[in-house]
């Protein structure tokens, strides 16, 4: 390649945010470790307080760090190459999130396809069924576990279907917001983005409703109701946490839009939040299919 002008790549000077973040994670991990260890005994400990302090510190760090980055970006320190670094970084982060969910989907499918039938004597496990739990019959959803815990399966119609429609719609509105931003139609951008946030919040509201319904005396679907309850709550729970995070990202972006940030060509933060939103949407579709429908 011959000579070509390259923009300088912005390497920030020292920053104290990383070490604040590291200490925050230390408090979170140690505090959570202590808190969880003490749960069974019921005694109070310093764990919970340390966890809260860590979380507060983490929020402070994220706020401060992102403010720095936004200032740098607004003052024109970033090059096109820098923008690419952010975009690629965000895509690989989302990929890592996909793999996190893959672990839980893997557990769900393994239980359904292998371990539950095996406990009923499938394959070469005839004696397992006979000796350990002769009363046990393999079904999915597993509404009666080998040790006799009973529960009810959550149907796919009603709230879950409504939530699917809400989230799918929100992905479309997020896309419209993006198109509006690229065409520099700020008013439409605000409307579509606001609508996306509202849909996300409604989704979360109904998710909580659904959990309340699951935990009612009528359904008795608890986190510890055997492998069906485990996978149901862990998958939907982690998904819900990701929707919450995505909504927070969208709200932050919304406030930046109100402040007049982002241009049709330069709007990494918007794009990152919108990618993240589409990602939680895709996870939900898989979840709806594997957890609720089949």
């Amino acid at each position: 390649m011959t000579t070509k002008e390259y923009e300088t790549y912005y390497v920030p000077a020292q920053s104290h945010w990383p070490i604040v973040g590291a200490v925050a994670l230390f408090f979170i991990a140690l505090g959570a470790g202590k808190y969880v260890s003490m749960l069974e005994s019921g005694e109070s400990s310093w764990g919970g307080w340390m966890l809260l302090a860590g979380l507060a510190m983490c929020i402070y760090m994220v706020y401060g760090w992102f403010s720095n980055v936004i200032q740098e970006s607004m003052s024109g320190k970033y090059s096109h190459q820098m923008d690419n670094s952010f975009k690629q970084g965000m895509s690989w982060f989302i990929f890592s999130e996909v793999m996190f969910f893959a672990a839980f989907f893997g557990a769900l499918l393994y239980a359904r396809v292998f371990s539950v039938p095996w406990l009923d004597g499938a394959g070469n496990n005839f004696m397992t069924g006979e000796v350990l739990w002769p009363e046990f019959t393999a079904t999915w959803p597993l509404i009666k576990t080998p040790d006799g815990t009973e529960t009810t399966a959550m149907g796919w119609y009603g709230l879950p279907l409504l939530n699917t429609i809400l989230l799918l719609t929100s992905s479309v509105t997020a896309h419209f917001a993006h198109v509006a931003l690229e065409q520099d139609k700020r008013k439409q951008l605000k409307v579509w983005l606001g609508l996306t946030i509202l849909l996300g919040l409604t989704f979360l509201f109904f998710q909580v409703e659904e959990y309340a319904h699951g935990y009612s005396e009528e359904m008795k679907l608890y986190l510890d109701s055997g492998i069906y309850g485990n996978t149901f709550y862990m998958l939907t729970g982690f998904h819900g946490m990701h929707v919450t995070l995505g909504t927070i990202m969208l709200i932050a972006v919304f406030f930046r839009v109100l402040k007049g940030h982002f241009t049709p060509k330069n709007h990494f933060a918007f794009q990152a939040a919108s990618w993240y939103w589409h990602f939680v949407d895709v996870v939900w579709v898989l979840l709806f299919f594997f957890v609720y429908i089949i």
Partner: protein, 531 residues
């Protein structure tokens, strides 16, 4: 690859002088890939000594049959934390340190792509390992369920350390994922103009592929430890048959992470010796592109061989066969690599500087570890080897004489570039020869112990194993002490010595040798031109 670089490093240095803080703040707040690389390397060496001290305790207890020094439960804590520290605290951060130091210089980038994130990735580690080590003093003691934390040992039968272990692993994982994303983005986005993918040094390629493995499997580890946490403390039954789960499911999910993890610890080693062997053979690397494809193939295969760790769990026959054949297939790309290293040396003008000695030892001893791996891959014979010292011998050959020796080769190779001085040659040769002899005394007899049936992870053993264990322990202590020589060499090299030239090795290739030694604080702020 030829380079034509005009350096205005003095100018760059002046311009940025004011940015370099002094004292503790420099290290806490730094965004410089060289500072962060050095911190990673020092951290990993400290962890190596801590984990090594635990190995000494293990070998002291196993010096004789019977229970001499420590309780069986503490013995289990020692083997567990030794494994965790060596894998996550010593080998992986050492490689990340090398990546941080070298990749920006090798691809002609001013720094890592996301410098602040880089500093965060590092500083999480000391805190994560503090939590792990603190668990010795909190509650029922440190993790005692093996570094593989199989359920139900880590769930139903946990000694109360599971929660600390789980959260420590979580933040370690965050550190690894962010570090890996940084490496991928740096390589994809920060290469100097003209540095095409197939012109990158193989060192960069191996880290590129390793970083992908990390991004793909560290989240699976996070998922695994989360399930262990909820099984232990929140009543779920992922790994409990009474609730419809399966303890074997733990092993499937864990090893889906665990097997790629093994290659995360060896692929960068391939990259290092693929740099040093051509340099000291004064010949270009034989079969560069086949090396790239072999690395990628090994990475791909690593995702479909995990159950070879579980042949004795009673898998369906189809599973046993599938995983056996896939595992054996790995020997093909690995063979390509060993063949290429040998072919690189063939008719080369070889000289035996310390980095080359470690690289040669790597090729031979790693191959021994590779062959014992092939033996373990055969399902029917694995029934005999499973959970014996044969396995211990196998993975220590690939991790100590493999990964660790390559790290030493890299450290000696680049020490002049890092410090600006040549290391003490005589002392470094002492380090090499003492390590080489003691490491074989340490690990080779373990093969015989394993074949004779001595199980791993036990504090006591039958009398017929006594003689070999005595020699293994002596080898262990000698190997442990030999590593202190390395510490002496490094400290001496930092303090002074013969001035190193910009390119102290006449056969060395690559952009890192076009900058002065020691490398200036900022390099390649303007991308170099590559023909």
């Amino acid at each position: 690859m030829t380079t034509d670089v005009i350096q205005d490093t003095d100018h760059q240095h002046d311009e940025h002088h004011d940015h370099k803080m002094t004292g503790l703040k420099r290290w806490l707040y730094t965004t410089n890939h060289k500072d962060i690389g050095s911190m990673y390397l020092w951290f990993s060496f400290i962890m190596f000594l801590v984990g090594g001290a635990m190995a000494m305790v293990i070998r002291a207890e196993l010096f004789q049959p019977g229970l001499q020094i420590i309780e069986p439960d503490f013995f289990n804590q020692m083997t567990t934390v030794h494994g965790l520290i060596m894998v996550f605290g010593a080998i992986m951060p050492a490689f990340t340190g090398l990546a941080n130091w070298m990749i920006p210089m090798m691809v002609g980038a001013p720094d890592m792509a996301l410098p602040r994130l880089n500093n965060w990735s590092f500083w999480i580690l000391p805190f994560a390992f503090s939590i792990l080590l603190m668990s010795f003093f909190i509650g029922g003691g440190a993790p005692n369920f093996g570094w593989t934390f199989y359920a139900p040992l880590s769930t139903t039968y946990s000694n109360g350390s599971t929660a600390f272990f789980v959260f420590a692993v979580h933040i370690m994982g965050i550190s690894s994922i962010m570090g890996a994303i940084n490496i991928v983005v740096t390589i994809m986005n920060m290469r100097a103009p003209g540095m095409t993918y197939m012109k990158m040094p193989l060192f960069v390629w191996t880290f590129f592929i390793t970083a992908y493995l990390l991004i793909a499997v560290m989240p699976v580890l996070a998922g695994t430890v989360t399930m262990v946490l909820t099984d232990t403390y929140f009543g779920t039954s992922f790994f409990d048959a009474a609730g419809g789960g399966d303890p074997v499911m733990f092993q499937h999910i864990f090893w889906f992470f665990g097997h790629p993890e093994v290659y995360i610890m060896i692929l960068p080693a391939f990259g290092i010796v693929s740099t040093t062997i051509p340099a000291f053979s004064r010949k270009p690397l034989f079969g560069y592109s086949s090396m790239v494809y072999a690395t990628a193939s090994i990475a791909f295969l690593s995702f479909i061989v995990w159950a070879h760790h579980m042949f004795t769990t009673g898998m369906p026959l189809f599973g046993e066969l599938f995983f056996m054949y896939c595992t054996m297939l790995i020997a093909v790309p690995t063979g390509v690599k060993v063949f290429n290293w040998v072919a690189t040396m063939w008719r080369g003008a070889i000289s035996f500087e310390t980095p080359m000695l470690f690289s040669l030892a790597f090729v031979i001893l790693f191959t021994i570890g590779g062959f014992s791996g092939l033996m373990l891959a055969m399902t029917p014979v694995d029934f005999q080897y499973h959970d014996t010292y044969f396995v211990v011998a196998h993975f220590h050959y690939v991790l100590v004489t493999g990964a660790l020796f390559s790290i030493y080769a890299g450290a000696y190779y680049w020490l002049p570039k890092w410090t600006g001085y040549m290391y003490d040659d005589a002392l470094s040769k002492w380090h090499f020869w003492c390590s080489l002899i003691s490491v074989n005394l340490l690990f080779f007899p373990m093969h015989f112990l394993g074949l004779a049936g001595m199980p791993r992870r036990i504090p006591d053993y039958a009398l017929q194993f006594a003689d070999f264990n005595k020699w293994v322990s002596i080898g262990g202590f000698a190997f442990g002490l030999s590593q202190l020589i390395f510490l002496a060499v490094v400290i001496k090299c930092i303090k002074g010595g013969k001035k190193a030239e910009a390119k102290p090795w006449d056969g060395a290739e690559g952009l890192e040798w076009t900058v002065p030694s020691p490398a200036p604080y900022h390099t390649f702020e303007k991308p170099p031109k590559i023909d």
